[in-house]
């Protein structure tokens, strides 16, 4: 039920083009920060405050939420903005597609087959590795200012220099690590 690379690639490319045509390039990883900010602000309402002097109308004592004139702070205060709703809709779109193709098997829901072949059935091991990987991926994405969507795909389609720098870094690490880790099942 997976599209071949020709139709899949053209469809995916069309979506990236449509995003730029109608609004702006696709990006995802910033919304992890926005979601963190929403949770943080729910616990401590002083984290995002209205501020007439800020360029975007909001400010934060946290330097990251406060950067670019309070751009992130504003989105934390108003989650019904384009980028945040985009990510929610993306999750819904994938859920619909998953249901339409009959879902994922019980074994696959725990870990992919290639992981099982190399590291066994332990869900603790797989979930711990996924947690650790998620931590460094999002830390890295925020340090880089974008992820696979924003830097690699949206960046390179626009011939942006940062997109090539990011992609070089990502694959320079990803290929050797995957080749070392996943030797069985070739």
């Amino acid at each position: 039920m997976i599209l071949n690379w020709r139709s899949g690639g053209i469809l995916l490319g069309a979506v990236f083009f449509l995003a730029v045509l109608l609004v702006k390039p696709i990006g995802v990883s910033t919304q992890f920060v926005i979601f963190d900010g929403i949770l943080w602000d729910a616990i401590n309402p002083d984290i995002v405050v209205l501020d007439e002097n800020a360029k975007k109308g909001y400010s934060s004592p946290n330097a990251y939420l406060n950067k670019s004139g309070g751009k992130y702070a504003k989105n934390v205060a108003n989650p019904l903005n384009y980028s945040f709703v985009f990510v929610i809709a993306m999750i819904a779109g994938a859920a619909i597609s998953g249901l339409m193709r009959g879902g994922v098997s019980k074994e696959e829901k725990q870990m992919p087959e290639v992981w099982r072949k190399n590291f066994g059935d332990s869900t603790v091991k797989r979930y711990a590795a996924a947690f650790f990987a998620g931590f460094i991926v999002l830390f890295g994405a925020r340090l880089a200012g974008g992820c696979t969507s924003g830097h690699m795909m949206s960046g390179m389609m626009q011939t942006s220099i940062s997109g090539y720098i990011f992609t070089a870094g990502a694959f320079l690490a990803a290929f050797p690590i995957a080749l070392m880790m996943f030797k069985k099942g070739r």
Binding site: L22, Y82, A94, R142, I165
Partner: protein, 194 residues
């Protein structure tokens, strides 16, 4: 509901649906792309970038695409370091930020642990951002928000002058598509790794 929210629902929904249809929500496909046993996703991604590039730069030349919709990110050395970190986690788990969320949507539990780790990782970056900024790792290089060639209607600096940025974009789009076409289905392993 504002127009921008409606567009977010339509484009975001199409993006999530497509990510699942091309197999990107399956971490097994991503790992097999990276250990070179199944390049299906690599070919898909390269064709997608090439197609999007051709359509966008062609649309810019024809005046159908608003150059103001482009958004070029700043280049700085942290982009490379962050890329290395992302690449490492990408290889270990088979997830990136977008595919972890969409994989969780199809019921994958390991993706939920990735997302939880991601929320902590993003929070950690929020905590250390001021310190990282002070190191100079975020200082712009190569002109900052730069593109390969100058693109009409934008103020992005370019590294190659004297050639239209739109034509460079179209040329690179063709190159991406050509590489997608000639890339092998796999380097290691047999064909039955679907």
């Amino acid at each position: 509901m504002s127009l921008s929210v409606i567009l977010a629902i339509v484009i975001g929904g199409a993006f999530g649906f497509t990510l699942d249809r091309v197999g990107a929500t399956n971490p097994g496909f991503i790992i097999r792309m990276l250990n070179l046993t199944n390049l299906h996703l690599m070919k898909t991604i390269m064709l997608a970038i090439g197609t999007a590039s051709l359509l966008m730069f062609g649309g810019l030349l024809l005046g159908l695409v608003d150059p103001g919709h482009m958004s070029v990110k700043t280049a700085y050395s942290g982009v490379f370091v962050g890329g290395l970190l992302l690449g490492a986690g990408f290889a270990i788990s088979g997830f990136c930020p977008g595919t972890s969320l969409t994989a969780a949507a199809t019921g994958r539990k390991d993706a939920l642990f990735f997302i939880l780790g991601g929320l902590f990782g993003a929070a950690a970056y929020m905590g250390v951002y001021a310190g990282i900024k002070a190191t100079g790792l975020l200082d712009k290089i190569a002109g900052g928000k730069s593109t390969l060639g100058p693109v009409g209607g934008t103020k992005y600096p370019s590294v190659i002058d004297g050639m239209s940025g739109e034509l460079i974009g179209i040329l690179l789009g063709v190159i991406f598509i050509a590489v997608a076409m000639v890339a092998p289905a796999h380097v290691f392993g047999s064909k039955d790794h679907s």
